[in-house]
Amino acid sequence: MSELLEHLEANLQQVTGYIYPNEIELHWSLLVVIYPYVTGLVAGAFILASLVEVFKVKEVASTYRLALLTALAFLIAAPLPLLAHLGHPERSFQIFLTPHLRSAMAMFGFVYIWYLMLVLLLEIWFEYRADMVRWSSERRGVMKLLYWVLSLGSRDLSEKAVRFDRKAVYAITLVGIPSAFLLHGYVGFIFGSIKANPWWSSVLMPIVFLFSAIVSGIALVLLLHYVTTMFRRVKPDMACFNKLASFLMYALIIDLSLETLDFIHRMYESEESIEILAELVITKLFISLTIVQLLLGTIVPIVLLAIGRFSRIPDEFKRVVFFIAALLVQVGIFSTRWNVVIGGQLFSKSLRGLTVFKMQLGGIEGLFMGIALLILPFVLLWILVKLLPPWDKQEAN
């Protein structure tokens, strides 16, 4: 008992009001914050890619392949925070062997596998098939074998076959858009359907998650496009930057409107939880919600993007403004996930008290693990970009 009290001492000193004993420590910590953040980036990057393929937005065509690879790299890393948080990752495959149709979390495994195997991998395969066939014949040694395996031994570079690839990519993207919506909408649904928690329980939650995902995905591709353009030392495609910035700004405005709608809805309903939620927002979440999410992560980027889009400033300066705005958006969206996941556990179910979240530095749920899991998708993306260069086709054109 004394060990337990010693362990909880730091938390107990900051607990306010009345709280049940099992609410003092949070059960879902940093890793559960990272999971919806990374999943959102996947959905957002894919939706950006679909703008090129389905909606024929030519200006952002140069980001199409990069967006697909980004979505894949982040999707591969997406379940890792959950596996680390739950422990026993070797058991995870069992949800696929014995599907539990009434478990929302178990069915999410199938949503994930559908999106990974039948949307993203398939689309990337058809998109790169002709290139892989070409690379397989051009390269030597291990790389030749690797591209041959990746192309599944395909050799057909006829016009008909390439035309079929294009049609397949288009069809998969059509299926992929609702699938991407489903992927991140489902993450929002998992939180929104927890009716015992008034901070989470909202039908707007999947929609809010979805639009914040679109925002974060576009911002990430903008950041990557900026960095890759700089390192490749090619002439920056200002039309692409401008279009990305416009989409980011519009998505941010919709996201802000939805969040405001949710806020007004809660205020107008004024359920019995409104007092404790108001206290939560003005005390424990003031920095992360009002300052970081709302001010730095939404309003400042909208202003910056508007300045970049509608003022006559030099292109170099404009790109830096877009870059800063996209960076702030990432911080803001991470903060959004933090406020949902951590905020939802900071108040007592008695609606009479608040607890505090103490983050560990080391350990499986710690800060270092979180940083490693956030770096991992970039490492995966680097490998994917090396393996499947997204610029070859564009530069050849």
Partner: protein, 291 residues
């Protein structure tokens, strides 16, 4: 033309159009397999023009599905799903585990005198082995094995130590204040734990309320100001329940507009404020400033 014939005609035209628009299989091997299989089945089936890359993907998907089926056959336990979404054999395995607990009925077969006392006490629903530990060995061989006899203070405070979330009325103590150093059993008989002395103060049982009230604006009011409690409530709390105010005018003695009592107490017009509700139905009297 009849409507049925019209639909058959449309369907056959659609099938013809699809089959002629697809590309023929490039690999002779696949073509051979397909032709062989359709011929061997005695079917006069037209070979569909499937693109090469689709066939390769289809083979990969078929292999993946085959692997999934093999893995399912290998890794799903045979008894999974027989009863519910779990391994039915787990029940048999649990049942086969070594027993350690005998159960209360086995205890009272020999210790019927203690069992009678306990059955009439507050601890009537508490199993003997909750305090005395697993005792099946003692039931099997009473001379060789003896159950645990509780002597310290640690076990009792697991239930009776003060915790805000415990229900009011449940006896709770603060270990450091309540007869420190003395073992609980020195004053309390665990088989009949009725307090040896009548509690002097309401807070002995209603600790959470007492602590809440102590920091509220009602701190100076004694419990009896609002609750009329018969003296017998201290011995038999559930048989003699204390009373709560049943009229709005009771609170109005301090909070009504014409009240001459405490000047700092907020005043309301009882004829307009709160409608037909009693005051404590909206305001928590032990912490009235809480909303």
């Amino acid at each position: 033309m009849k409507p049925g014939e019209k639909w058959i005609g449309r369907c056959s035209r659609a099938v013809r159009s699809i089959s002629t628009n697809l590309v023929f299989i490039q690999e002779p091997l696949f073509r051979l397999i397909l032709v062989f299989s359709t011929n061997s089945l005695g079917m006069r089936m037209r070979i569909w023009k499937i693109p090469d890359q689709v066939i390769r993907l289809a083979i990969l998907i078929v292999i993946a599905l085959a692997v999934l089926i093999v893995v399912r056959l290998q890794f799903i336990p045979a008894s999974f799903g027989e009863i519910g979404h779990y391994r039915a054999d787990a029940l048999k395995e649990e049942a086969a585990l070594t027993l350690h607990y005998a159960g209360m009925q086995a205890c009272v077969m020999c210790h019927d005198d203690i069992g009678m006392i306990k059955a009439a006490s507050y601890h009537r629903n508490l199993a003997c082995e909750s305090c005395h530990g697993p005792s099946l060995e003692h039931v099997d061989d009473p001379g060789e094995f003896s159950p645990v006899v509780v002597t310290g203070r640690t076990l009792c405070v697991r239930c009776h130590g003060y915790l805000a979330s415990r229900p009011t009325g449940f006896p709770q103590i603060i270990e450091a204040i309540h007869n420190p150093m003395a073992p609980c059993t020195e004053c309390h008989d665990p088989h009949d734990p009725t307090p040896p002395e009548v509690p002097e103060d309401c807070s002995a049982c209603h600790a959470e309320i007492a602590r809440t009230k102590a920091v509220s604006h009602h701190w100076s009011l004694s419990c009896e100001t609002c609750h009329e409690a018969a003296p017998e409530h201290r011995q038999s709390p559930r048989a003699f329940l204390p009373k709560k105010p049943t009229e709005r005018e009771f609170c109005g003695q301090c909070h009504g507009q014409g009240s001459q009592r405490s000047a700092s107490a907020p005043r309301v017009d009882l004829s307009e404020h709160g409608g037909r509700y009693l005051c404590w139905q909206c305001h928590y009297p032990h912490h009235p400033e809480g909303r």
